[in-house]
Amino acid sequence: MGSRASTLLREEEIEEIKKETGFSHSQITRLYSRFTSLDKGENGTLSREDFQRIPELAINPLGDRIINAFFPEGEDQVNFRGFMRTLAHFRPIEDNEKNKNPTASEPLNSRSNKLLFAFRLYDLDRDDKISRDELLQVLRMMVGVNISDEQLGSIADRTIQEADTNGDSCISFQEFIKASLVEANINNTSFNHLTKKIKILMGAFFINATEANLLNKLA
């Protein structure tokens, strides 16, 4: 009955999360409200079942991997701080952050952290390499039963062949970055394309297709 009032976020906590993740005050309260509505057990943490109750996530082919990304190694519950930390990866990089103090610790939504998130979706055993098996697993999740093992195997082989530069038949994080980014110099038209698409709403943030574009810029 009074659970909402008792688990209301305190100002200090909001400030801490703001510093750590870069979300604004209203975004944090909004996401806290979302967190509590997903928390059916009302114990301040989310379990994997709580996530799977979201139909749109349950039908996502990579749903289980994404849910996994929220839970730290070996744990079954995630609290609000952990929840926000993971969501922070998807915050768009704002212009005023680009010229930040280089000695400050890297923000959660930096380019390399975004790529690390994606890398970890493949690399299940966290050995910092994507093996052929891991690649096949993810491929199988995305295509379901529609492609045969042999065809899938050849896709995986080709991908590793193209991306692997040091010949260990695995894709390291550096090789992954190169494989998903543009290698050449910055394309100015892409920048215009980018700025046209970014809409900054008052008090809202977004993740949309330009996120991938942002990942492409090495600058």
Binding site: R4, L8, H25, S26, T29, R30, L31, S33, R34, S37, F51, Q52, R53, I54, P55, E56, L57, A58, I59, N60, P61, L62, I66, L87, F90, A118, L121, Y122, V138, L139, M142, V143, G144, V145, N146, I147, Q151, I155, R158, T159, I171, A179, S180, L181, V182, E183, S190, L201, M202, G203, A204, F205, F206, I207, N208, A209, E211, A212, L215, N216
Partner: protein, 456 residues
């Protein structure tokens, strides 16, 4: 000591007696008699207007308070947490590949490691905000209506506001609640009693006429028991005999709201307890369609009984809620096709509650029936609008599902609700795997369109 108390006691008794008499006379004159004749003094609308003014003042006060603390006020609808663009899987993955690779667009690339960005993004978007789960809990209000239950993060702002809230609490629980409970008991009691009496009459025009009047009267008393302020639109489209009335479902109160303006044959499962008593006595006066628990599973039996009922033109129109479960009145979810297969004329009705005065949504996983009714009776009022939409029938070449979707779209449009294809049953059940398989199929087509998929 005894002498001291005696005159006091007498005085107390006399005062109590007088106040009870006054109380009941007022009740009778202002509430029950108008209910019988279907007229209204307009007291409830005046009450509604006063409340609105108070809420506006409270909202301004809160906004001012929030500005002083330099926060953005949490408005659930004006700034959505994320902006979602409705693009298809193919378009987006192509876009990602185009910007990521420096290869030629013409060389159809099979698979890129960056393809997972699309799924990751969609997944995290749905974690932050999805269309379905928020329909199963009470709607969030933009401004506070002085009820603790709708208090999200409106912390202590000012003394005046708190005093007002306390006053509101006193009025609601001390005055309105007992009044409403009395009315509710009167209404239900009269319904059971009078319908049983009418059941003794022989079937015929007299019986139907009386049963109509009795039903209407008792429902009107119940409406006043909830302080429901209802606006009916387009009454010329009211359902006629031999038709099926479908409406969006938010709470059991929907039945009372619709039935106080017209006579319907209800459809439902027989319950035990008080509900069962009411159901059994109602069916004595006029034919409702009640099913035993076991019969509900048998779809053919259900369909047959319903179609028998609609074919008899002397019987009242059937009232059905095709969503099958209570949704929180911000959207309309999938309509079950059963009632649309029967082939009768469908009269759609849209019901939209105004959440500022009291949230009518019944969250059955959180509240039982009794606590729900108590919450209803201790809110300010139930304010809603009912639109009777023009009748629809199934067209040539349209199957039941398409027909159901067409009706659903019309209701959603009229009521200003979001039209969703998701099943209301997702409240309790898991989503079917077929949706995931569809996405997988779409993606596999992208990998090599020339390949035929293994499963067609």
């Amino acid at each position: 000591m005894e002498l001291f108390f005696n005159p006091f006691d007498n005085l107390l008794c006399i005062l109590l007696g007088i106040s009870f008499t006054v109380w009941f006379t007022l009740l009778l004159v202002f509430i029950i008699v108008p209910a019988i004749f279907g007229v209204s003094f307009g007291i409830r609308r005046l009450y509604m207007k006063t409340l609105l003014k108070i809420f506006e003042w409270a909202t301004l006060r809160i906004e001012r308070g929030a500005k002083e603390k330099n926060h953005h006020l949490y408005k659930p609808y004006s700034n959505a947490i994320i902006a979602r663009e409705p693009t298809s899987l193919e378009e987006e993955i192509k876009e990602i590949r185009r910007s990521g690779s420096n290869k030629d667009l013409d060389s159809a690339s099979e698979f890129e490691m960056s393809d997972i960005f699309y799924f990751a993004r969609r997944g995290v978007e749905s974690i932050m905000d999805d269309e379905v789960t928020k329909r199963f809990s009470a709607e969030e209000l933009e401004s506070w209506n002085l009820l603790t239950r709708s208090n999200n993060n409106f912390t202590y702002i000012s003394l005046r506001l708190t005093v007002l809230w306390g006053l509101g609490l006193l009025i609601r629980y001390g005055f309105l609640l007992p009044l409403r409970v009395t009315l509710a008991f009167t209404g239900v009691g009269l319904l059971v009693f009078l319908t049983s009496v009418i059941g003794l009459l022989p079937n015929g025009r007299m019986k139907n006429f009386l049963s109509e009047k009795v039903h209407l009267m008792c429902y009107r008393i119940c409406v006043r028991a909830l302080t429901a302020i209802i606006t009916y639109h387009d009454s010329e489209n009211k359902p006629k005999n031999g038709g099926i009335c479908v409406a969006n479902h938010t709470s059991p109160i929907d039945v009372i709201i619709l039935a106080s303006d017209g006579c319907y044959a209800m459809v439902g499962q027989i319950h035990g307890g008080l509900m069962g008593v009411i159901q059994r006595s109602m069916v004595k006066a006029c034919p409702h369609v009640w099913f035993e628990r076991s019969e509900v599973k048998d779809r053919h039996l259900v369909a047959k009984r319903l179609s028998d009922h609609v074919q008899d033109k002397s019987k009242l129109p059937i009232l059905i809620f095709p969503e099958g479960t209570c949704i929180n009145n911000t959207s309309v979810m999938m309509f079950k096709k059963g009632s649309f297969e029967i082939g009768a004329t469908v009269y759609p009705v849209a019901i939209k509650y105004d959440p500022r005065f009291g949230d009518a949504f019944w969250n059955s996983s959180k509240f039982g029936m009794v606590s729900y009714l108590l919450r209803m009776m201790s809110s300010w009022a139930i304010v809603c609008s009912v639109w009777y939409l023009p009748p629809m029938s199934r067209e040539e070449g349209e199957d039941a599902v398409q027909f159901a979707n067409r009706v659903k779209a019309a209701i959603a449009r009229q009521g200003g609700l979001v039209d969703l294809l998701w099943d209301g049953g997702l409240k309790r059940e898991k989503v079917k795997d077929t949706f995931k398989e569809e996405q997988q199929k779409l993606y596999s087509k992208m990998l090599r369109p020339s390949w035929t998929p293994l499963t067609t």
